[in-house]
């Protein structure tokens, strides 16, 4: 009985989600995957266009995108994400070095669920993801 309860608690605590990380920095992608892989399935895209192609081809529970990337920026990624019916109510988070209020407002207007400023705290990241997925 106790074992069954323990398994149930572990299962409930472990929110497995399919997450796409879009960032032109390989280091950031690696840090995100390292922080999230214990709890989630994480795919990565090295630029905005590849990210858009990936979330059009398959469905993700959450997308985390950088803002400043070559060619297609994070705001465009969010707008493209929100155009798709399957993502109208799904979360998308911005993870960027920018903390400027104007930029945050642009992110909000584009359809971002939230704004996280780098460098990110892995514990805070995990808690934020649990909140937006819940």
């Amino acid at each position: 009985m106790r074992i069954a309860l323990a398994i149930r608690i572990i299962f409930l605590e472990k929110i497995m989600a399919k997450i796409l990380v879009i960032d032109d920095s390989r280091t950031i992608r690696e840090m995100l995957i390292f922080s999230l892989k214990a709890q989630h399935t994480v795919d990565e895209a090295e630029n905005g266009q590849i990210g858009i192609d990936m979330f059009k081809r398959q469905t993700y529970d959450l997308v985390i995108t950088d803002l400043n990337m070559p060619n297609i920026d994070g705001l465009t990624v969010i707008r493209e994400y929100r155009k798709l019916p399957q993502y109208r109510s799904k979360p998308i988070l911005m993870l960027t070095t920018e903390a400027d209020a104007t930029k945050k407002q642009q992110g909000k207007e584009a359809g971002a669920t939230g704004w996280m400023v780098k460098p990110f705290d892995p514990a805070k990241l995990i808690a934020t993801i649990a909140k937006v997925l819940g």
Binding site: D24, S25, R26, T27, I28, M31, F34, S35, N68, M69, P70, T96, T97, E98, A99, K104, G107, K108, A112, T113, G114, W115, M116, V117, K118, P119, F120, D121, P122, K124, L125, T128, K131, V132
Partner: protein, 186 residues
């Protein structure tokens, strides 16, 4: 950030210290900094004439690799992001890197060497060519980065002044920014 006229170069000079960075476009100044164990990266887009320099040091106290990446990578990412926001093309950007000396025995774990290893590995991983470097060694350095030509002048600093530089680096470490905030929208 304030500039002052430098008679030797005949142009304005802007000084940055540990934890700071500066980026400019089509501006002819010298960005300068003084380095002991710290490393400075001079980033330059020669086509768009956009230049930037940072000055960073990995945490001495931590053995955690994520911590080290947080400090070093963040310093580099902020610099590169400001270059991109100013109009630089990522594939145009080249780096010149300086510093990482190991003089002061009081600084544990060979922090200069760790800074050098970090910047070399980071540049390879992120695909930025290092076209010039003056790293490691036993002496502190002052560098002047010409923001219009991309040229860097390097001066070696004697042991007497070097100890002051190393001491200053140790005491300024705590000013490095901590984790960023999270805001969820309604």
């Amino acid at each position: 950030m304030k500039t002052h006229y430098h008679p030797k170069f005949g142009i304005d000079v802007l000084n940055i210290t540990a934890g700071e960075h500066y980026v400019c476009k089509n501006k002819h100044i010298m960005i300068t900094t003084i380095l002991g164990s710290c490393v400075a990266a001079c980033a330059f887009d020669p086509i768009k004439k956009i230049a930037g320099m940072n000055h960073f040091m990995l945490p001495i106290s931590s053995n955690n690799n994520l911590d080290k990446m947080r400090y070093g990578h963040h310093a580099m990412e902020v610099l590169i992001n400001d270059m991109l926001v100013s109009g630089a093309i990522k594939s145009n950007i080249v780096l010149k890197v300086f510093g990482g000396a190991n003089v002061n025995r009081n600084i544990s774990k060979n922090i200069g060497r760790q800074n050098v290893e970090f910047i070399r590995e980071w540049a390879v991983k992120e695909n930025f060519p290092i076209i010039a470097e003056d790293l490691d060694g036993e002496y502190a350095r002052r560098i002047y980065f010409n923001t219009l030509t991309g040229k860097v002048n390097r001066l070696m600093i004697g042991q007497d002044k070097a100890n002051i530089v190393f001491h200053k680096e140790e005491t300024t470490q705590n000013t490095i920014p901590q984790y960023g905030d999270v805001e969820l929208f309604d």
